[in-house]
Symmetry: C2
Subunit: 443 residues, 2 copies
Amino acid sequence: MVIPGESSRGLSLTTKMEKLKQLALKIGKNAKNASSQMHLVKTFEKNSVLKKIASSIQKNKRKIIEGNLLDLKNAKISRRDSAFLDRLEITNQSIIDMCNGLEQIASLPDPIGTISNLKEQPSGIKVGNMNVPIGVILMIYESRPNVTVDAAALALKTGNSIILRGGSESLNSNVVLHTIIFNTLKNCGLPEQSVQLTATKDRNLITELLLLDKYIDLVIPRGGKSLIKRISDKSHIQVIKHLDGICHVYIDEFADKKRASDITINSKTQRLGTCNTLETLLVNKNIARKVLPKIFKLLLAKGIEIRVCKLTKQILTEKDFFALNKIKIATVKDWSTEYLDAILSVRTVEGIDEAISHIHKYGSSHTECIVTENHDNAMNFLRRVDSSSVMVNTSTRFADGFQYGMGAEIGISTNKLHARGPVGLEGLTTKKWIVLSDGQVRY
Amino acid sequence: MVIPGESSRGLSLTTKMEKLKQLALKIGKNAKNASSQMHLVKTFEKNSVLKKIASSIQKNKRKIIEGNLLDLKNAKISRRDSAFLDRLEITNQSIIDMCNGLEQIASLPDPIGTISNLKEQPSGIKVGNMNVPIGVILMIYESRPNVTVDAAALALKTGNSIILRGGSESLNSNVVLHTIIFNTLKNCGLPEQSVQLTATKDRNLITELLLLDKYIDLVIPRGGKSLIKRISDKSHIQVIKHLDGICHVYIDEFADKKRASDITINSKTQRLGTCNTLETLLVNKNIARKVLPKIFKLLLAKGIEIRVCKLTKQILTEKDFFALNKIKIATVKDWSTEYLDAILSVRTVEGIDEAISHIHKYGSSHTECIVTENHDNAMNFLRRVDSSSVMVNTSTRFADGFQYGMGAEIGISTNKLHARGPVGLEGLTTKKWIVLSDGQVRY
């Protein structure tokens, strides 16, 4: 059911807050009730619903686009910028992508019910773990309406209930998409309250929902850093955070020069604005003069601004590098900046220890890569760097659920606990202990 | 280093709070620094230190007992009850137990560095997970001084830094134990700041530490429910909670009568005051009359008070059960009470659905067991009951890290996320993604 945004004009603030509290409670209880039924739904039923949602989206394409046009019109009236409109717009291609996403999630193995590590103990009991749904997930996101479908599909496949709280600017699009999902669940005899959309524009509803740790098990905010910070500060429930991606490539003394160059260029320039884009290049001082001129030339050709530490500037001479004057000097602030832009900071370091110290001091524990042919250095880096993804000889741009073979992704977590890095189906499950026995008791 | 409790007499409140804030920050930074070194320590080094701590505890037995006598003396002056003194006291046996614990943790496999699920992806990169330390753990506990040693040992084995905040009543005991650990770490060349003890009695230090999400990754409170609630309300860091254990046994229509009786008696009476003790017995109405008389007789003989629902009382006649007058009627409050005492509530239900509904409505998601010979009912219960341990035909008293073959346990988590149920070494680790490649870039 779409939880309506009730009109609150003319109500006193206390009555308004009380109404919101009651609304939040109702949403939470609905979700929890549906969740206990979702535990039981069989894999083939879940897959069949996912496919039916896809075909219903196809059939209702016109309605979806009409709803979206309304949102686009309002956004233009509010003078939103083109990047915003771009995120908001549902095109024919986005409809195809949503449907493909649904089909793909249907085709993935069901993680629920898997039993692992079942072992007999000296007492005779058999102890193992069973993968189970987390329960109720609150998803808070901004303007992209496709998240409504993606998140609902991932929740459905993992037997979770989900409460969707999309940006108010995409409300009309979301209502159409949610109605399709709701009706399909209902027609298939699945608990339709397992996917709820909150349609009030009042932000205080989020605050009320974030207090309901009795009904909601996990909060996933997707959007800007300020949104995520605001939510995790207020939440009494665990939040999967997706904060900065200040990613590093370290070119080791024993790096292959061609690889060093390919990996740096790809990590920085394959896409500029993603969280797994390279932001700071670290380079061993014994190889800097041999690799940097070529890398800098390629970066400048691609329009990347380069900001280097003083040592880097000292090492390179005009003879090494024709365009030394085009290179700027980095400040301390550069090391901790996620540019998401055509800028790269570069620092020359003494060796792997200094590289790792730099990463731990200035990085965001997202994704880091070493380029080296030396096995010890590769293993050392792999073991010591405390980031959600640690790589050897490859592009940081690979840090992504699809590239990792997860088939789907609800986000990339910068948390250390529960889910870390790309979060796929597995990250939306938890484990319980199961004990099988033939009557053993404890002495 | 033992962080001293600085004298704050004569200081203004603002200066005092500022000093505490600085102290907390220092502790956090020390722990974080030590943690990055701990990532690297080899298994044989960790095991060797654990064994050396054990032998140093043996050697310094006298000092430990002297420190403990001081604590006991103070506790007696403050008129603490005998249960408290019992928890506080270090006997010859507790010293042997601590040393055995250390030896056992040394003998367990090292979970750190394990690589799992390494698979090649279509792009050619190999993606897998590596088990790594969580980082910095803040352990807050009450009067038992053995926790100082147990928790330090578990943290050490898993490559984590730990900040120990024991009860102020056991401060003298804790300081002696901590000094032994500190000196052994130092003598072995391991980062001695990886185990810190806070020795100020000011509770505000905890509040300051709970704000340091930049330095501390996990909080584990061990003690009464009020302590745990207070801490999780204040914490900006994830808390492993250990709240109620309202455990259920459900005797199914197809239960073996002998097993039903053995399991109920063992679950309730093997120990009364533990979190995995049975609190509410659910029984299918078609078997109630056949199993309850014998069970009630045995329970009464062991001094257990029985509180039943009205239906149970209706089903049993004087002919079935000689001592019907000794049985009380339960109120709704009984269903949600963790007695930790010689009381059992009993409810007759229509069938497995009502049993599961009761568990989800009144239980605490700790441990539940079905007694049945029917496979479908066993699997149904196993799949649907959303508790940290779900069991078939066995005693709830088995819900314990040692019984589950974990070798050691830092507590039992009632969280759904990160660690659930008994938390052993594995629960003190997390996973990062690792990517191995021979130069692949992304297209």
